[in-house]
Symmetry: none
Subunit: 196 residues, 4 copies
DNA sequence: GATGAATGAGAGTTCATTCAT
DNA sequence: GATGAATGAACTCTCATTCAT
């Protein structure tokens, strides 16, 4: 078992992603997650307050890593439009590489109640702030138009990425998601850059 | 009572929108909808196969009207970029004018299970086809670039509209949604048009 | 079935008394009560808010009848000491005639939590008030000493009755409870009456 | 820490009384008692067979002391009616001085199941025997009537004391319990003594 | 067509107890 | 002797759907 080494906390979160991706949010009983994780039902509650807490933690954990990785790569890049491209490309790449996670974030987690979705939004703020940074950087250095409304542009960007990924998931991942990055970047960048 | 005239079918759908907007998807029991509609629980099942059918019907009905109205307006317009603007503006306007419906479509209906969401997507196809028409028209007459990937652009457009409306709903509709139409159109159009 | 005539509400309460007397408070699941009553589990919740509500209702219903019957008999009697005797005799007689109820009130219901016990005490107030009436009547007409502390005497009386019945229940009802009435009355009355 | 000296056995029993008085019987988990006692959960099971055993031991220990103290005092007294008074007074005094214990014995321990209550009754036998001794002594020496039924009188006495203390606990100990001793003794003694 | 009382399957969570260290 | 992480059985309540009237 590769599980011997992993702490139970991680073990349970990974099991949750798999179980939810397989069975859907509403058919993912705690007992199923426990079984997949190889622990007793009660053990779950030593690490999580309740079922919802598993989901929030799952999202925090995975989204945290997701954003960190993008941040890391972007810091090495100078130009705003290249940063933008990198963000798009890595957004697609990371979800591409973990299809279970993609199913969970794009479809299943949205079935949670409003309160949980607000908590999820809280976690997303970090990501949105990263987008704002790129946009503001580009506006300053002249890559993008100066009078853009950052909050609105960020909604265009996030909405686009989210929809493109959701589409890919609902089409059962039958095409390559990362391939879309170039075109998406072109459309968005064209919308933002200066034109003569 | 204004309800005397309305057929029970409509009565129930309207009640469903109100109940879901007020209580949230997961607290909208069939009995609550029946009460609000002024009919017995059992009566619901004379008009709808099951609870899910209420939701699908609700979406079909409302979305049907939603799309028809936009179609109607757009047919009168010649230029592709103006059609595009009209679509954006009316998308925002219609949801602006029916906040209960906005809450239901943007937040509550997404809590339904995957199967229901596939059915909802089915209903959306008509709307997406309309977008495709506008885009293809613009590509033909030279308003937009000729080599655009329609399916992808449609995702950018729909994803953007959806995100902007969702944002507005989650911000508790504290600002004017229709005011955003001009800027959103500018960004999208800029992404699509020819540049010298 | 003799049950056809009875309304479900009564049916459930009667079933509850039997089930609790047989299995003890902590082994009386709602499903057991439903089965004994011949209804579905869910039906219970059409008539009672929750499990605790069954118990409170049970106590209110049974205790209400219990006290009414005693009241009725006592009204016909003039002398305070005879009223006192009647109360004691009927207290014993009624519990004697419904051993299941005796088990439930003397042993099982006391296992409920503090909150429920406060509600039960509320129901008892009527009975205690009846005791007060008898005592005050006797103090006025010279049957009992005039300077008695009614609240304390009532505790002596109730505590005594309660203990004697509990003893009888715990001794598995191997002797006749009503036979004790004469002696208990003698002891209590002796404690209260005037002495030369 | 004053606890260093105390053996774990005592430490756990004292913790149990406090925890139960504070939280109520049903919210007094073994882990809470362990924490209060400053030992690990598992340690409890080195000293007690199971949770119930804690409660029985608690009652044996405390009740043993309770009865011994009363016995001790009573041996010094000659007259039966004075012995009776002493018993009443000390019953009240001891519970008065340890309100946590009073809550536990009068309210919380009664929520235990029937089997535990039989075991508790076993422990009480010693106390009841002491009452019997006083009563029989008084019957012999002419203080009390000769034809009293000792077992019944003992129920009157115990039932009275128990109810008076319970009342005091439920009234949140807002008055002085020991003050009641004189009146209670008067009522009981009057019921027992010879009258001319 | 309309009613609404009755149904019964289904799941999150607690906590006494164990046992490897 | 002492620890405390892990176990897993057990139970209330909700609500979509049915069907006799």
């Amino acid at each position: 078992m590769e599980n011997k080494a992993k702490p139970k906390y991680k073990l349970i979160l990974d099991a949750a992603v798999e179980v939810i991706a397989e069975n859907g949010y509403h058919h993912s009983q705690v007992s199923k997650i426990a079984k997949k994780a190889g622990v007793a039902d009660g053990t779950i509650y030593l690490y999580f307050k309740n079922k919802e807490d598993i989901l929030v933690s799952l999202f925090e954990e995975k989204m945290g890593q997701f954003v960190s990785k993008i941040k890391e790569e972007i810091e090495r890049i100078e130009k705003a439009d290249e940063k933008l491209y990198k963000l798009i490309e890595m957004h697609f790449r990371q979800l591409s590489e973990d299809p279970s996670l993609a199913i969970v974030t794009q479809l299943e987690l949205r079935q949670s109640n409003k309160r949980l979705r607000f908590e999820i939004n809280e976690v997303l703020k970090d990501y949105l702030a990263l987008m704002d940074d790129i946009l503001e950087g580009g506006m300053k250095d002249g890559t993008f138009q100066a009078q853009l409304k950052v909050k609105l542009v960020r909604q265009v960007l996030f909405g686009t990425l989210d929809e493109v990924v959701t589409n890919w998931v609902m089409k059962e991942q039958r095409y390559d998601l990362v391939d879309q990055a170039r075109d998406v970047h072109y459309l968005i960048y064209n919308g933002l850059r200066k034109h003569n």
